[in-house]
């Protein structure tokens, strides 16, 4: 029994029919009648390198089930689950548990990220090898939320993961330069009396780590770039041949520090929202390939973590269900094409994470694909599949809508509706 998706538009602009059988893409060509997909763009299923699923430990904000439902609704067929859970994903036991929860949920591939250091405290290496050799086959390691700021530890981590082709995903934030920091440094921070978070705190770590990656010959990934200067450093490192990749979030592409003016913690995020000039530099970098991927940094928080004064509030915002729409606005609206869109939201992330069976829409590959209606316009709602509603995009109108998400040959979203 096969499924045919009729008359899709592929990322290269050509029309085709896609046949799926037993979870695999079996033919792409002129195949005749099936599910009418006229006007829809067929893309490899989206892959998010940066998702906080909050389980184990913070189930009031999100669970693997609710987060992977949100991911599927956003067009994702794989998410990389960040390690800052409780307990921290710093051992084989925890990463296997997270993977298992993902399998049980069944909405997308949930691939755990392992912590770089024990307990994320930046003092000793976590069980990197055991996590890599576990059933979860961890390849991406990150202390996200914290920066691996000790240069010796960072150097060792880069060296160590090389033997199993791992990558260190760095949350670039020099801790001393950002003690108590609340928002982008500058005149607005001064006016609001909030402690400034200088760009150099991000850029200095990226520069240092790029040089460490060069010295060790290891792979380095930079999470959530936010400044024009960070783009320059990454561009320089790439030109030098360093194995560096970089990510940007939907919110840093579209929102600016101006939103902080009303002290509404819905806009409180780490790293902070920057200036208009920074968003323009990030957009340009995405279009020219300096930035490789979109990472959502989906960071759900329960209402009480945000319904308080700014400085008491948690950092972070949900993102899985509007990420593709923001990216469409930035890439297609910015003169890029759907092939670039597919790379940024899927294939490059799969490659960085060394995920098998994700990131490609091709005959013989597992049927992980997403079909979107690029002509649709929709108003983003605060209530999504996520357990949390900390969404600064709520109420905004954005282009594009996920119509079908297919994970291992099964619809997780069909005609815009999430599978029960």
């Amino acid at each position: 029994m096969s499924t045919i998706l009729s008359n899709v538009t592929l990322a290269n602009g050509k029309s085709a029919d896609i046949e799926i059988e037993k979870g695999v893409v079996t033919q792409i060509g002129s195949l005749g009648k099936g599910i009418d997909c006229s006007g829809l763009i067929a893309l490899p299923g989206f892959v998010d390198l940066h998702t906080h699923l909050r389980q184990p430990g913070f189930e009031a904000s999100e669970t693997v089930l609710s987060g992977s439902r949100s991911a599927a609704a956003g067009g994702y067929t794989a998410v990389l689950a960040m390690a800052n859970t409780m307990p921290v994903a710093d051992s084989a036991g925890v990463v296997e548990q997270v993977m298992q929860l993902g399998l049980e949920a069944g909405y997308c591939q949930v691939q755990p990220i392992g912590a770089v250091t024990k307990g994320l405290v930046g003092e000793e290496l976590a069980a990197l090898g055991s996590m890599a050799n576990s059933r979860a086959q961890v390849r991406v390691f990150s202390d996200d939320g914290n920066c691996v700021h000790d240069p010796l530890l960072m150097q060792r981590a880069l060296q160590y993961v090389k033997s199993f082709d791992g990558v260190i995903a760095q949350h670039a934030q020099e801790p001393k330069l950002t003690q108590g920091a609340q928002m982008n440094d500058g005149a607005l921070a001064t006016e609001l009396g909030l402690k400034g978070w200088p760009a150099v705190a991000e850029e200095a770590i990226i520069a240092r780590d790029a040089l460490l990656a060069e010295q060790t010959g290891s792979r380095l990934h930079i999470c959530h770039l936010t400044t024009a200067g960070a783009v320059d450093v990454v561009r320089w490192a790439k030109n030098r041949g360093i194995a560096i990749t970089a990510e940007v979030t939907p919110h840093h592409l579209m929102l600016t520090e101006e939103s902080v003016r009303g002290y509404n913690p819905i806009y409180k995020v780490n790293p902070p929202l920057r200036t208009k000039e920074d968003t323009l530099a990030l957009r340009e970098a995405l279009l020219d390939g300096t930035i490789d991927v979109l990472g959502t940094d989906h960071a759900p928080h329960s209402a009480e973590k945000k319904d308080c004064e700014w400085e008491a509030a948690a950092f972070g915002m949900v993102a899985l269900e509007h990420a593709a729409s923001v990216l469409q606005d930035v890439i297609i609206g910015g003169g890029g094409d759907w092939e670039l869109f597919a790379k940024v939201i899927s294939s490059r992330a799969a490659k960085i994470a060394r995920l098998q069976g994700q990131g490609a829409l091709a005959v013989g590959e597992p049927a992980n694909l997403t079909l979107i209606d690029p002509a649709a316009k929709r108003v983003i709602e605060s209530k999504t599949q996520s357990k949390s509603e900390n969404n600064p995009f709520a109420g905004m109108e954005l282009p594009g809508k996920v119509i079908h998400t297919i994970y291992r040959g099964e619809f997780t979203v069909r005609e815009g509706a999430l599978r029960a």
């Binding site: 005149a187 001064t190 006016e191 009396g193 004064e309 700014w310 008491a312």
Partner: protein
Amino acid sequence: MKHLISISDLTKAQAVKLLDDASELSSVNEREVKKLPALRGKTVVNLFFENSTRTRISFEVAAKRLSADVINFSAQTSSLSKGESLKDTAQTLEALGAHAIVVRHPYSGAAHALAHRGWISSSIINAGDGSHEHPTQALLDALTLRQAFGLNADLSGLNVLIVGDILHSRVARSNVLLLNLLGAKVTVAGPTTLMPNGIEKLGATISHNFDEALEQKPDAVMMLRVQKERMQGSFFPSEREYAKNWALSSERFRRLSSSTRILHPGPMNRGFEIASEAADSNQSLVLKQVANGVSVRMAVLYATLAGEEN
């Protein structure tokens, strides 16, 4: 005017009106029976998350002179130390009958949150939030300057020099905004490490040399308090070096023109940022500031509480 959170919420006309009202109310403070019935039946809560006896007492005296009931609630003696949220505390106080909440909080934006997040409907008066603002301090400083220079509306033509830790100072921010609004020219002076990024965009000229700034013959010099914790924060090499460059020492004081007035929001570190010779001189307006604090706070309480029924 329902709330007073930031000077930037005020129009020039509103600011001048508050100063006019405060002037008028200050005559009450000189009477034998220092009480007006204006806020009878109203309850004002002083909600203080930081110790500031001076500001708290000033608001308390102001509220009582207008016949309001006053409740003092300080974080040290309350459930806040047990993790109760600002929202819960404010809702509790409102349920107990608060009409206005005067709030002092270490977080910038705390007063704004109480006024605008829909938690409560009381009037909110910002008595200092983090390093954001302290609007009643700026108003009392403006009233003091207005009286000292015999002005009767705004402060057009005055040159004011603010000296010290501008970075962490809510007094400096509110003063820069209000002095600009009232037509004065403001210079801020202090070590580069204590100068906030972009302060010039709020309407201040920056100086990194106190003596050069004094050569410009300011009409008034406002000295800011240097907090103890800054002295350990590597913002400057030593207390001695700070005092040498940034204190209003006797020597600097003697070089001032006799018409230059001296302000300090208090409490003063005598002998550190300001010499007693300067603080106690007849050029000093420090005690006038304290007295005007009560009048200004009466005017603000009146405008926020009685105003809402008009």
